[in-house]
Amino acid sequence: MSIDTDTAARVAKLARIKVEDDALPALAQEFNNILGFIEQLNEVDVDGVEPMVSVTPMRLKRRKDGVTDGDQQDKVLANAPDSREGFFAVPKVVE
């Protein structure tokens, strides 16, 4: 599997990380190095093997579906880069 600059650009877009066009060839090369290393996994016979879901065999605990926390709007917003009138503020999303 070889990654070209178009694929690198698509992955950067999916990851929402801005990568300048002139940096794409080097990025594609790095992906190829890492994926080349990962390719070794194709040597393993995994027929009939279940993919691991949880490393320790445990049942997730259940609890009542009720409100356990809240009423701390000021704390929730305290670290926001931009908050207004009790909300997180972002650039215009809908035209």
Partner: protein, 494 residues
């Protein structure tokens, strides 16, 4: 009396209880040591006011006669732990200015026990790295130097600041976290002890997430006894972490008898790597002989899928990271890029993440995005999860045959020079070759210093235990520590 910052937890605890020393005195000694050690780059946010307040409270509690073991003990906290009102950045620019409004479960438990926090410790950005060179704060430096050289060595990573601080006696102990070896590799590089407990032993709540199915916190200490004391304080069930185990926490220190007669120790042949330095080979053979002399039965074992652990890890960890790090979008906390006229929300995300994340973090997020993307999910991610099942089964098989613990080298080399391995990410990944299997299988693993190489740098061995049997594992490590008699300390140059 020796300088107070050089004490171990056990020594300080006993001296505090006898009234020979106060927590305020211990804390002042550490704060003085920290002030003179900026060259190590270990403490990145110092909290002397909090420390002195906690120390005074601890002294009052000790005087009242009802203090837990960790009461009054000055510690450093890895920057990955959220600490209320104190910068908690995971060594990343994207969390610049972030001060949590809450306290992680582990630091809450430690503070409830009376522990003193001296400050936050350096690390690789989002715990991604093996040399502490991806930190936004700059490198942490190993207090050890090779021979007469004054070249700066890595303390390892990702818990490099923790390792550097404990090794240079800036604090009595530190917290670390371990996703692929981030407690055990730096411990080995700096001549200290570090244990990653069984997955689920320590709550992950309030610890900045890297790869949630692999992340575990643990102690980094000056010896095995201290690791036992601190681990007990860090463990316990937490309803806020759904993978936290609801199991009783034993008194680990009481299990340190040093008697390992009749125990079976496995030596896995797959850990004998091509090109492994002779010194590591010799260290491993010495460890084997030490445990045999202590009365353990040594057996050769096979863990056939070992070779595939690192490639599986470099699918699973980036996949989980790409998902976990999606939350850093410039909306709720941390950095937001300055936007140009006409930029919309997508540009805000893309610019914020490009500015806030360092190169290695960006690389791993994008690799993770790729292996999870449509068309590749089965070929990469599901295949890696199947290989992970096989790696865990390797261990289950040898434990079923009666093996109590497994002895391996902790690292493939001693600490290397800062700047040496940065250029090739895959080369850097090989640092975790002996430790990463343990995370994939969810097992407890401990690194113990057992010798010096010919340049005078510390080397460590790793013991891997059965799930939930940290007490037994610590006792085997204690026997190894007693036999090795490692007491070397780095010569002070900072």
């Amino acid at each position: 009396m020796t300088e107070l910052n050089t004490l171990k937890i056990s020594e300080a605890r006993d001296a505090l209880r006898k009234g020979d020393v106060t927590s305020v005195e211990l804390t002042q000694a550490c704060l003085t040591a920290i002030e003179g050690a900026d060259a190590l780059g270990a403490f990145v946010h110092k909290t002397p006011e909090i420390a002195m307040e906690q120390a005074q409270a601890a002294d009052a509690r000790i005087k009242a006669g009802d203090a837990p073991d960790m009461c009054g003990i000055p510690m450093g906290i890895k920057d990955l732990f959220c600490t209320k009102g104190v910068p908690s950045q995971a060594a990343s620019g994207i969390l610049n200015g972030f001060k949590p409004e809450y306290e992680s479960t582990i630091t809450s438990q430690l503070f409830d026990a009376g522990t003193v926090m001296l400050g936050k410790l350096n690390m690789d950005e989002f715990a991604m790295g093996s040399s502490n060179e991806t930190s936004v704060y700059g490198n942490a430096v190993n207090p050890w130097r090779a021979g007469n050289s004054d070249a700066a060595l890595t303390p390892g990573g990702s818990s490099g600041g923790s390792a550097s601080a404990v090794s240079s006696d800036l604090c009595l102990a530190a917290t670390g976290t371990d996703t692929g070896g981030s407690i055990r590799q730096p411990a080995a590089f700096t001549g200290i002890t570090g244990i990653k407990p069984t997955y689920g032993r320590c709550s992950r709540w309030g610890i900045v997430a890297f790869a949630s199915s692999l992340d575990q916190a643990g102690p980094m200490t000056k010896d095995v006894r201290d690791a036992a004391i601190l681990l007990e304080a860090m463990c316990g069930h937490d309803p806020k972490d759904s993978t936290s185990a609801d199991l009783a926490v034993p008194n680990f220190e009481a299990m340190l008898t040093g008697d390992i007669r009749g125990k079976t120790i496995g030596i896995p042949k797959e850990y004998r790597m091509d090109g492994m330095p002779d010194e590591i080979e010799a260290l491993w053979a010495e460890g084997r002989a030490m445990l045999e002399d202590a009365g353990a039965k040594i057996v050769d074992i096979s863990l056939p899928h070992t070779k595939y652990a690192l490639p599986a890890y470099y699918v699973i960890a980036p996949a989980e990271a790409s998902s976990n790090l999606a939350r850093y979008d410039g909306v709720r906390y941390g950095h937001r890029a300055t936007l140009a006229q006409g930029d919309g929300i997508t540009e805000m995300y893309e610019k914020t993440r490009a500015e806030g994340f360092g190169a290695e973090v960006q690389r791993r997020v994008m690799v993770g995005t790729y292996v999870l993307s449509a068309g590749f999910y089965d070929a990469y991610y599901n295949r890696a999860r199947k290989v992970r099942t096989l790696i865990k089964k390797d261990f289950e098989d040898v434990f079923a045959e009666g093996v109590d613990a497994i002895l391996t080298p902790a690292t493939p080399s001693a600490a290397f020079e800062l700047g040496k391995e940065v250029s090739d990410p895959v080369e850097m990944y090989l640092n975790d070759v002996f430790t990463v299997t343990v995370n994939l299988a969810g097992l407890p693993g401990i690194a113990v210093p057992t010798g010096l190489d010919k340049q005078g740098l510390p080397l460590g061995l790793q013991l891997i235990g059965r799930p939930w049997e940290e007490g037994d594992l610590l006792n085997t490590a204690y026997a190894l520590e007693n036999a090795a008699g490692f007491v070397a300390k780095p010569a002070k140059w900072w």
